[in-house]
Every structure is written in structure tokens, then in C-alpha cells.
């Protein structure tokens, strides 16, 4: 059971970190919130992302030692970054609350006129 939690952490922490990084980019923030951003991302966001990704590495080394831990973490990085890409493409609105944590001021309404599809990137 404990091992499952550690494994879950190794997979979830880098995923969360990459989500934060993606939401620092304007087009993905817009995809998540349907609004145009008016502020720059909070400076803490990048630090948080780095901590989350490094946290995944720490857990992985804790579970499997340095060599295997590093190998596991590098493969998890690719998998979680791809997972973020697919989240933004299919279910960007799931990241809405995280988006507002990254940029606190709610932006203006997105591209004026007509309905905007949730994952319109341009």
C-alpha cells in the first residue's frame, strides 16, 4: 500500500509540475480558462514547478536508489509531460483552478465574438 502511494507520488508530482509550467504559457492558460491573461505568471510558479519535479526525483531515489531512481524519473518526465500535453488538448478545463493559482487576476474574456472551444490554442 505504502509502495503504491510512493509510486503514485513519483508519477503525480512531475505531472503537477509540468501542468504549472504549461499554465505559465499564455496559450495554454487561455485553453484552461477561456480567458486572455492580463498578468504575468506569479514568480513563485516556476519555483513550485521545479520543486514538484525535483520532488518526483527525490521520491524515486528514495524508492529505488540513485541509479534506478534516476532512470525511472527520466522516463516519468517524458510520460508526464506527454500526459500534460494530452490534458491540455482534450480536457484543458480541468486545469482551471490551477490556472488561477498561477495567475491570480482573472483575465479578460477570450477572443471576442462567437463561442470559443475549450481547447482552441489560436
Amino acid at each position: 500500500m505504502r509502495d503504491l502511494l510512493v509510486l503514485g507520488g513519483i508519477l503525480a508530482l512531475p505531472y503537477a509540475g509540468f501542468c504549472v509550467l504549461a499554465l505559465c504559457q499564455d496559450c495554454h492558460w487561455t485553453a484552461a480558462t477561456d480567458r486572455k491573461p492580463v498578468t504575468r505568471p506569479h514568480w513563485l510558479a516556476l519555483i513550485l514547478a521545479a520543486l514538484l519535479i525535483a520532488g518526483g526525483l527525490t521520491l524515486s531515489i528514495y524508492r529505488d536508489g540513485i541509479v534506478l531512481g534516476l532512470i525511472f524519473w527520466v522516463t516519468v518526465l517524458t510520460a508526464s509531460a506527454l500526459a500534460v500535453t494530452f490534458t491540455l488538448s482534450w480536457r484543458a478545463e480541468c486545469l482551471r483552478s490551477l490556472a488561477y493559482a498561477v495567475r491570480w487576476r482573472r483575465g479578460t474574456a477570450a477572443q471576442g465574438g462567437g463561442t470559443v472551444k475549450p481547447n482552441a490554442h489560436d
Binding site: D64, I71, A81, S89
Partner: protein, 513 residues
């Protein structure tokens, strides 16, 4: 665009088109090879046995000696039973097996037979190469008699490295497009996915390719290994690998207990024995090579202990030098023999992402030239589209055909393994022919075929062996259950893709009409 960037574009495009087929096949069979032992269990029902608590080498020695009898330099190698291969896996040189079409051809082939883990008796001939066909296709195109298949694979590997580097050098907005995948727009979707998988998967793709190439360094750089030693041609092998060998004496002698030698070896290493090789069995100069179980560390360690078989005395302790140990670690990164199921699954999925990388590359090439070629009457898109379908869905159909043939062909058939392999290649060629003859509907029809074949394979497994999914899960036989489940998942993906493709077909037809 600068000439440098234009060169990178040209290189990436042309090397991709030329070698994409071979690279897709290598990535596909490579991904399957992560689970080649599980595929073995699926294709060889007589080996779906329980792993016993302890195995005896002395019990299996007579059967192995009998298998190796009769070649110029008889020797056999056994992989002792493990969790996902609960039988003795004996490799020996032979002139023929059920995959050999021309038994009088020169040279020997490496044949494989299985022994019961409890009694050491020979199990019936499985009549199939099983997952090992896919595994050896991955690195030598399954050429069994003549070692020529290694070289196209190596060339493809080097080309893959060039594709990766050129792909990065020509990519404009790496950070800006890091997480971008605009799947709604057809023209951008394949390029975005290609870029995403390529950039995000960069560490994996570059390292898996490079480690795969380095693994066969002695095959690929013979001059660099021999020139520095001048007259002493075998110098590198002697200094770095330092194995032990001695010729046959021609005098028969009784062997001592292999189990005691294995116990001694296990005592020296602190780990149990995993592989045993016996050279010149039954002879006075017979010697045994023992290697430890390799599922602990990353390194693909080949440190061995050599024993004199008639007396049981330790002859030689072969330990890798630091340079060779580095190469063994690099090899271990590719082979992943270590026990860590999350990493094995991630390698499997990332390998499949390599397949997606190649397929989306083809798709983007096609989409960005379709209108131009149609307007100017060029045949390039038509040819490459057929090539793409045959290389992607085609090789998948070939693999499924191989599995289905395994369940359908009677086990008493003489060259059964050769017939199965024939089904593999026939399915692949048929897919190409179908793709070139019916370009409009090729994707849809081949996706449907994949779904049908995958479900058929699962049904046939249940029908011919009685091991349906509920029974294998209840028994804890995750090898067979896993293969069945992956077949069903694959069938699901193929069916969903077929539906999406058919909607597009209908829409396209409506648009033109």
C-alpha cells in the same frame, strides 16, 4: 531560411522517408520485446507451468547433453527458470528445427528447447519461435543463418540519431511549442504530435538508439578493436573480456555435480546462478560457465565463473574491466533485465511513442504535400501513403497474423515455425499490396483488420488452450493474461481509430460530391 536549416530539413525529410519503414518495425518489435517472454508463454502453452521452489541442474543435464550432441563443437546454454519463464530454456547449435526450411544449408543455427523445471525432462517441441522471433527481428531482422541482418538495423539506428539531432536543429519554437497539440486542426495535429513526442521523448529516443548501437560495438567497429593491438588480433578479447576456453580432449569422462558448482558460484557472488553454459559435455575437458541472475542491477553483467566439469574445480573467475563495465552498463540501459515493472512498462509505452513519432512524421509529410501532388499529377504522395500504411498498420497486422497462425496451425505440422513466420511476412506484404491498391480506404480497412485479428487471437487462445482471461487471472498467470489484455486494449484502440477514420471518409466523400 539559412542553408544550414534547409540542409537539416532536407536531411530529416529524406532520411525519414527512406528509413521510416525499417525504423517503425524496429521500434514496434523492440517495444514488444520488453514482454517477449510473456509472448513466449502465450505462444507456447506447454510452458505455462508453475515455478518450483528450487531447481536441480543435475536433473536437467542429461536432456541438455542429448540436445547438444552431434555438432562440431557441442555446447549448450540454459537459462534457469524465472517468474516469467518458469521452464529451463536450453539453447544449442543445431542444423535444423521447425523453422528451418533448408536443413542442408551450411552453418548451424541456434535452436531452443524447453525442459520441465521439476524433472528436467524435455518438453514437447513447441514448433514455434515464439516471442524470440520478434525479439531477434528487432536487432537482426531474424536472419538466423547469416549474420547480415545486424547491419541494416545498425544503419537505421545511426539514421535515427541523425533524425533526432536534425529534428531538434530545425525546430523553431521549442519552448513555446513544448506542450502544444492542436488536435482539432488536421494539418497541424500530426506535426504537433510529432514535435511533442519528439521533444518530450528526447532523452528516451536518443538514449535507446545510442545504447542499442553501442551494444554491438564489437560487430560494428572491428578495425578499431584490432588495429591498436597490431599483430595480436585477439588482443582486445583477451584483455578486456578475458573469457576461458579449452578444446575438446576426445576422452569421455563422468561429470561432477553441477548443483554443487552452482552452490559454490552462488556463495562467491552472494546471488543465485541465472545462466549455465557447458562446453564439450561428457568429455574430459568439459567446462561449465556460470553467470549470476541478472535481474538485480542495471548493468548487463556477464562476469562468469568457469568450472572443470569432471572434477567441479573452479578454473577461472572472469570479472569485467572498468571500460567493459561501462559498456555493460550502457547495454543494461537498453536491455532492462532488472526487475522494476514501472520502468519496463514505461519503456514499452515510450517505445510505442517512437512508433507514433515515425507514423506522425509520415502523416505530416503526406498532408503537407497532398494538394500539390494531386494538382501537379505527381505520384509521390500516392506511393508514400501506401508505404506509410504498410509500414505502420501493416507490420501490426503481420504480428497479429503471426499470433493467430500460432493458434491455428496444428502442432504436428513439420515446419510449423517456418509457416508461422511465413504468415508474418505474407500478412505484411498483403498489407502493402492492399494499401497501394485501395488508397482511399486503406487506413480504415486495416484498422478494422487489426481489431478483428486481435480479438480473434484472444478467442483462439481460449479455445485452443482453455486458458481464457478469467482463468489466467485467477491462476495469477500474468504473462498470458497480460498478453490477452493488451490484445484487447489494442483491438479497442484500433476499433476507435477505425470509427474516426470512417467518419472522415464519409465527410470527405460528402465534400467532394
Amino acid at each position: 531560411m539559412t542553408p544550414f536549416r534547409a540542409s537539416m530539413h532536407w536531411l530529416h525529410t529524406w532520411v525519414g522517408i527512406a528509413l521510416g519503414t525499417l525504423l517503425f518495425a524496429i521500434f514496434w518489435t523492440g517495444s514488444l520485446s520488453v514482454f517477449y517472454k510473456e509472448i513466449d508463454r502465450w505462444m507456447m502453452p506447454m510452458t505455462r507451468l508453475e515455478l518450483p521452489a528450487s531447481v536441480s541442474l543435475d536433473a536437467m543435464r542429461p536432456a541438455a547433453d542429448a540436445l547438444a550432441h552431434g555438432t562440431n563443437s557441442p555446447h549448450w546454454k540454459v537459462y534457469l527458470p524465472t517468474a516469467n519463464e518458469p521452464v529451463h530454456n536450453v539453447i544449442f547449435q543445431s542444423k535444423t528445427d521447425s523453422a528451418t526450411l533448408f536443413p542442408d544449408a551450411p552453418g548451424n543455427i541456434m535452436a531452443r528447447r524447453f525442459l520441465d523445471p521439476n524433472t528436467g525432462d524435455l518438453l514437447e517441441d513447441p514448433g514455434t519461435l515464439g516471442g524470440d522471433f520478434l525479439y531477434s527481428f528487432h536487432f537482426k531482422l531474424s536472419m538466423r543463418r547469416f549474420p547480415v541482418g545486424y547491419y541494416p538495423v545498425a544503419l537505421a539506428g545511426m539514421a535515427m540519431l541523425a533524425l533526432i539531432v536534425s529534428g531538434i536543429l530545425l525546430h523553431g519554437r521549442i519552448i513555446a511549442n513544448f506542450f502544444l497539440f492542436r488536435r482539432q486542426k488536421r494539418a497541424r495535429a500530426s506535426l504537433d504530435l510529432h514535435n511533442a513526442v519528439g521533444i518530450l521523448g528526447l532523452p528516451f529516443h536518443f538514449l535507446i538508439t545510442l545504447t542499442g548501437l553501442i551494444f554491438f560495438y564489437n560487430l560494428h567497429y572491428p578495425l578499431a578493436l584490432s588495429i591498436p593491438y597490431g599483430e595480436d588480433a585477439g588482443g582486445y578479447n583477451r584483455e578486456a573480456i578475458a573469457a576461458y576456453a579449452r578444446p575438446e580432449a576426445g576422452i569421455p569422462a563422468e561429470p561432477a555435480s553441477l548443483d554443487e558448482m552452482a552452490a559454490e558460484a552462488a556463495r562467491i557472488w552472494g546471488r543465485p546462478v541465472g545462466t549455465v553454459r557447458v562446453y564439450h559435455p561428457g568429455d574430459k575437458n568439459a567446462y561449465a560457465l556460470m553467470m549470476p541472475r541478472d535481474d538485480g542491477a542495471v548493468s548487463d553483467v556477464r562476469d562468469s565463473l568457469f568450472f572443470d566439469v569432471p572434477s567441479g574445480k573452479l578454473l577461472h573467475n572472469q570479472v569485467a574491466k572498468p571500460a567493459l563495465a561501462t559498456e555493460r552498463f550502457i547495454a543494461g540501459l537498453h536491455l532492462i533485465h532488472f526487475r522494476h515493472w514501472p520502468v519496463r512498462w514505461l519503456y514499452f509505452l515510450l517505445g510505442l511513442s517512437g512508433c507514433v513519432l515515425i507514423a506522425t512524421g509520415f502523416l505530416f509529410w503526406l498532408e503537407s504535400r497532398r494538394k500539390r501532388h494531386a494538382a501537379l499529377g505527381l505520384q509521390g504522395v500516392r506511393f508514400v501513403e501506401g508505404l506509410t500504411v504498410g509500414s505502420t498498420t501493416g507490420v501490426i497486422i503481420a504480428t497479429l497474423g503471426y499470433l493467430v497462425a500460432n493458434r491455428l496451425l496444428p502442432s504436428t505440422m513439420p515446419v510449423r515455425a517456418a509457416a508461422e513466420i511465413g504468415c508474418f511476412y505474407f500478412g505484411w506484404l498483403a498489407a502493402y499490396a492492399h494499401a497501394w491498391l485501395r488508397p482511399g480506404s486503406a487506413w480504415y480497412e486495416q484498422a478494422r483488420t487489426i481489431a478483428v485479428l486481435a480479438v480473434a487471437a484472444v478467442v483462439l487462445n481460449a479455445a485452443t488452450t482453455g486458458d481464457h482471461l478469467l482463468r489466467t487471472i485467477a491462476r495469477g498467470d500474468w504473462a498470458v493474461a497480460g498478453v490477452d489484455m493488451m490484445l484487447l486494449v489494442g483491438a479497442g484502440i484500433a476499433a476507435v481509430s477505425a470509427r474516426a477514420l470512417s467518419h472522415r471518409q464519409i465527410a470527405k466523400v460528402r465534400q467532394v460530391a
